[in-house]
Symmetry: C2
């Protein structure tokens, strides 16, 4: 069965987000002073073909830990949904 | 009032995702052959201080169009939530 995983990888709150700070300053220069902070992470959509949702969830957790995120600096969350 | 916008920026379906293809091949080499496709985008959390949710949504749409996404190649969606 086919599943789609929607994965969000975010920098841990204690890690300085230089890219996000740069975006925030650029927005302030454009006049968007109501934007108080920007934090930038990754969003991934992964198609997984497994028998059960449990198997797909296990694969998704493993690939996030091993390749798609850096566990030292980043956290990840995902939602799994079946695809018709 | 403070709002948090959770923004997803994704490559349009017609655009080849080279980074995603590389990740998929790396996963196949690690043995995760049930992963059939990977598409990589950006996930951003933006804190916005505006009077109303309408104002915050308008600011969010504008900053996505002007700075946070490339409208030629990317789509964006966001959810807005009030912060206590």
């Amino acid at each position: 069965m086919a599943y789609k995983a929607k994965i969000r990888v975010t920098l841990r709150p204690s890690i300085l987000d230089v890219q996000g700070k740069a975006a925030q300053h650029a927005l302030a220069n454009l006049g968007y002073t109501s934007v108080e902070s920007v934090r930038i992470g990754k969003y991934m959509e992964v198609a997984i073909e497994e028998q059960t949702a449990e198997d797909a969830g296990r694969v998704c957790t493993e690939i996030c830990q091993k390749l798609l995120s850096n566990p030292v600096m980043e956290d990840f969350t995902f939602e799994l949904e079946p695809v018709n």
